[in-house]
Amino acid sequence: MATLTCRQLSKTYPGDHRAVEALDLTLEAGELMVVVGPSGCGKSTLLRMVAGLEAISGGQLIIDGTVANALEPARRGVAMVFQNYALYPHMSVFDNMAYALKLQRRPRAEIERRVHEAATLLGIDALLERRPRHLSGGQRQRVAMGRAIVREPALFLFDEPLSNLDAALRVQMRQEIRRLQQRLGASMLYVTHDQVEAMTLADRLVVMREGRIEQIGTPMSLFEAPASCFVARFIGSPAMNLIPVKRARDGAHLCARLQLSGDPEATARAATLGLRPEHLRLDPQGELAGTVEMIEPLGVDALVHCRLPEHHEPLTARLPMTALAASGIRQQGAIRLAVDGPLHLFDDQDRRLDHAARLTPLPSLFAI
């Protein structure tokens, strides 16, 4: 169990390509921190710098109070689980797990004890004599984790460890990693591009974009108050609807007859309106009127993709199948939705505006 601190950590590749830029981060002891972001955002580079597989161009890497910038990977007290497991193909499962301890010249009895303990913990004690190629994907994953556990590292590093597994196994291994982390009380840095994995695993979540941290926080705080449009789009599935706000002389509008009202500061600066698909509800008197473009049934719920007048961006609503069936709404037909949750406002720099606002329908032009 250890802490990890990054101070202004940077990685610049030849040709001035900045993979990670001046990154500040603190991982508390016993915390599972998930770094998430699209491919190329620098999350793997960050992990590899912590592991010592990538040279650090600038800043400080501090593991457990010691500057580890120039330490050999093996001396940092970190263990890494690779995306494709990187098991040693010519060694048995036992030798795979024991290799690091053998290099440390530990006594034979201690090696056996530690390997057997880890194997029992992971339920792979029956596989110790097998070669990696005779194992299934899930078993290989367990061996890779076992190899990390055996070393009793101060910090575990996971590099998209579940992306080579099928969906069902991924859910199961996700839970196992979480259980394991809580049982060992280990500090873990976990990199993934899968936001569901990130949400379910993390104590704290780091969203990265183009080498910078976009937001750090608990999964729910990121879900409830995304700091930017990028985070809003990334966290939550289906993604948040982001609709540009139109400016007119009398204020901000979503559509011609739908005004954004509330805090004057908010209405003056809002450039984008964010609405979670879960926060829309079918309502014949709803303020949002549109046409249904496509209905995707998910089972209990359905995703209804609509189009608002004057907008190119589709609006997605997650609606219960029963309500949808009762309303008789079909593709290409009209739909009315009411907002049943918070509105998220973002300024023209895509940063969050923390002000209350609501949508107010204006009286119809024909009614005047």
Partner: protein
């Protein structure tokens, strides 16, 4: 691929059998001729079946010095073995280290080094024979095993083959081993060697054959009969000025010269056949 066409099957078999005959006939003739007496071969018609002098011919070669050379076939075969093994092992050792450096280390002019090694493919011993002879002579290595082996010991082919083989090892393997605390030499010993076993075996066979079949270089570098190789002795056996060549001895020597490479191939075969099908990487 499998087609269910009986006619095609027969045709392919016919071609294969023809191939076997074309390749096998000279060997068969050498084998049968080596069992006849000198007189039986002087008719000029090659016998297609065994004669009765086989044991005597082979025994004569192995026990008595060969006329014109002064050493027995045993010595010649031993010389060939030393040279072939020296070349094969030396080539593998050097190209193993060279390929390891090129693939796994980042040093300045890495690619240049690789291409410089590669370019030496254009400089086989036949091309550089005069300067090579000069260097070896000045080192006083003429008529030594070292002089026969060392000039042939660097191999661009082997370096290239091993480089390709090493590059197919996943990068993560190297990184995982590094995190586990394995240094460069440890990684070479614990990972690169065991995982390249099949490639090394195949390379050993090729390089052994290369060394065994050398003719021009040992002809120059080994003047004394004590260092002559089996392949060179074949020429001595069929060279005679006033009498007919002892064909029965020449063919027997040829048969004996063929045997060690065959043994090496058979011994190593299981490795490289597995190398083609093994998915252990």
């Amino acid at each position: 691929m499998r087609y269910d066409r009986p006619l095609l099957d027969r045709l392919t078999h016919l071609l294969l059998i023809l191939g076997v005959i074309v390749f096998g006939l000279p060997l068969w003739l050498a084998l049968t001729a080596s069992t006849h007496s000198a007189g039986a071969l002087q008719s000029g018609i090659a016998p297609l079946w065994f004669g009765g002098e086989g044991l005597a011919n082979y025994w004569q070669l192995l026990s008595q010095p060969i006329a014109g050379l002064g050493v027995s076939a045993l010595r010649l075969l031993a010389n060939s073995l030393v040279m072939a093994l020296g070349i094969a092992i030396g080539k593998i050792a050097i190209s193993l280290l060279a390929a390891y450096a090129i693939v796994f280390f980042r040093f300045p002019c890495r690619t240049l080094c690789f291409w410089l090694i590669f370019v030496t493919l254009m400089l086989p011993v036949e091309v550089r024979i005069v300067p090579t002879y000069g260097v070896v002579a000045r080192f006083g290595l003429i008529d030594t095993y070292a002089g026969m082996i060392l000039p042939l010991i660097a191999s661009a082919t082997a370096t290239f083959l091993l480089r390709q083989s090493f590059m197919s090892l996943p990068q993560e393997l190297f990184e995982a081993a590094r995190l586990d605390g394995a240094g460069p030499l440890r990684f070479l010993k614990d990972f690169v060697l065991p995982l390249s076993k099949t490639n090394l075996a195949a390379l050993f066979v090729i390089m052994f054959l290369y060394g065994w079949n050398q003719y021009l270089w040992p002809l120059l570098a080994a003047n004394s009969p004590e260092h002559a190789t089996a392949v060179i002795s074949l020429k001595n056996l069929v060279q005679s000025t006033d009498t007919l060549p002892p064909w029965q001895l020449a063919t027997a020597m040829a048969v004996m010269t063929v045997l060690p490479p065959v043994a090496v191939i058979i011994a190593m075969q299981r490795f490289f056949v597995r190398g083609l099908t093994d998915t252990e990487k």
